[in-house]
Amino acid sequence: MMDINRRNMWIGIAVVAFVQAAFLGWMIWQRAHLLSTGHEVVLEVIPVDPRSLFQGDYVALGYDISRVPITEGRLKRGSTLYVTLQKTGDRWKPLSVSTKKPENLPPDQVLIKGRVEYASAPTSVSPGQATVRYGIEDFFVPEGTGQELEKLVGQKKLDALIAIDDAGIAGIKGLMVEGKRVYEEPLL
């Protein structure tokens, strides 16, 4: 550092600080854009693990689509899976599962993109099943409020308000109790 002149040093400082800050800003912008422009979908929250939903500062949320039937043989951990959601009543339910992105969906259907955690291949007696994550499974809560949310999940009273963009990327917009929006955080 001593061998380059001071002007270059300040330019370097500015480059590093702005590139890193720009990345963080991009993260925020991308998420804000997703939440404000994405398709709004309501998914029923189901208990994932009866032992401990509340882990530290976040509540683990499970959905209908966290476990989906598959017809494909071997699905590797980390591979991509598309689930088509269909609006039924107030909520959205899974309609079909595919490893390729379906095109030209009717307006009452939305695509959500997931990442395979585990998958079992179908056998002659049982269908295959995949455990999938969509990036909407962790809900960070203020300290001390996790237990309360956990109770609501246990009573199956909780719904999640999800925003999904055209590529199928999903984000949690808020949580709903008996149709009323709670925990909806402002964008900024």
Binding site: G12, Q20, L24, R31, L35, R115, E137, F139
Partner: protein, 364 residues
């Protein structure tokens, strides 16, 4: 005073008493040594430690979840912390406090990582966690290259290791992209001509190579690890002889290669559960490797290789002891045969040594 200076101090007194050195000569040597000595100063070390602590402090904010603060305030805090740390680094460089400046850079890089985590938490982003670590590593690499900061490069290297380790434990298969990330950081260290950094890079790569033995060939790839280690050691052994230079690098390659091969052999013997006759064969190969390492260490007066050899020998013998307790091969029989093998090797080494350097008796 460094170890070298202390030893020289004793030698100078002895040489002057023997009449080999004039008082003037001694004074000149002492002045020269004092002028060149770069003892580790306390202040920069404390500065670095302080930066590490601040980094941990920022990250424990994630755990504490700082929910009392308004969202905008939290974001403002992340960004002002980032700019503040780098700005402080600039000011410190300007005032010729490079060590403190590097500590400030390290703080900046730590805050960048904390920022990724905090923003992910604020917006409930639960993506693929290793991707976040890779992003952090790239931020550290950028700071290391642009600001010519060795501590930032060291952090980038460790984060690359964390990234790869996480990916491997997640997917249960070898994570080849690590080599690209590692190569980028190692190239930056080479460009900086930062020797301790290159050793750190070699250690991280060695650990990675040993790790892939547990994932290659359905988890039985330790033989490949042994082969890679032996090739590295062979290159280190033959390279300087053929090229006539890079002796220090060659010796380093021997040490890393032998350590990798040893780790692979260790897994073959004690994790794979081989047949007894295979175990004996592998144990003999391992002991020969270790004794070979010690011998090269003695021959080249290379302390690190010597100590690696001693450590490897002790680990091997201890592991064999626990493995053979109560088996067909009695422990006493094993130690008897191992002892005989080592003594035979010692005799061979002694013969060779006295032939190369006549007049020199036992090795030190």
């Amino acid at each position: 005073m460094s170890r070298y200076a202390r030893r020289l101090d004793q030698d100078l007194a002895r040489w002057r008493e023997a009449g080999w050195l004039s008082a003037d000569g001694e004074a000149s040597i002492r002045r020269d040594v004092a002028g060149r000595s770069r003892s580790l100063e306390v202040a920069p070390v404390l500065g670095i430690l302080g930066a590490v602590l601040i980094g941990f402090g920022a990250m424990s904010f994630v755990a504490a979840h700082w929910n009392e603060m308004a969202r905008l305030l939290r974001l403002a805090l992340i960004f002002s912390g980032l700019f503040g740390a780098y700005g402080l680094a600039g000011v410190l460089f300007d005032r010729d406090h490079p060590a403190f400046a590097h500590a400030a850079i390290l703080t900046g890089v730590a805050l960048f990582g904390a920022g990724i985590m905090l923003i992910a938490q604020m917006f409930h982003i639960s993506g693929h966690a290793p991707d976040a670590v890779l992003t952090w590593a790239l931020g550290a690499l950028l700071a290391g290259i642009v600001l010519r900061s060795n501590p930032a490069l060291a952090l980038a290297l460790l984060l690359m290791g964390l990234w790869s380790g996480w990916e491997m434990s997640d997917t249960n298969s070898v994570h080849w992209p690590f080599l690209i990330g590692w190569g980028a950081v190692a190239a930056a260290m080479l460009w900086r001509e930062w020797i301790p950094g290159l050793h750190l890079a070699a250690i991280v790569l060695s650990i990675w190579v040993v790790t892939i033995g547990y994932f290659l060939l359905d988890g039985h790839g330790h033989g490949v690890v042994v082969a890679i280690g032996l090739i590295i050691a062979a290159v280190g052994l033959a390279g300087p002889v053929i090229l006539g230079r890079w002796r220090t690098w060659g010796e380093a390659a021997i040490a890393y290669g032998m350590a990798i091969a040893f780790a692979g052999l260790f897994a073959l013997q004690f994790i794979e559960n081989p047949h007894l006759d295979n175990l004996i064969l592998l144990a003999i190969v391992t002991l020969a490797l270790v004794v070979g390492g010690i011998w090269i260490g003695l021959k080249n007066n290379n302390g690190s290789l010597l100590w690696l050899g001693y450590a490897g020998f002790s680990i091997e013998v201890l592991a064999l002891y626990f493995k053979t307790v109560g088996t067909l091969l009695g422990s006493s029989l094993f130690f008897l045969s191992a002892g005989i093998i080592v003594i035979l090797l010692a005799v061979a080494a002694y013969r060779l040594h006295s032939r190369v350097q006549p007049g020199v008796g036992a090795v030190p």
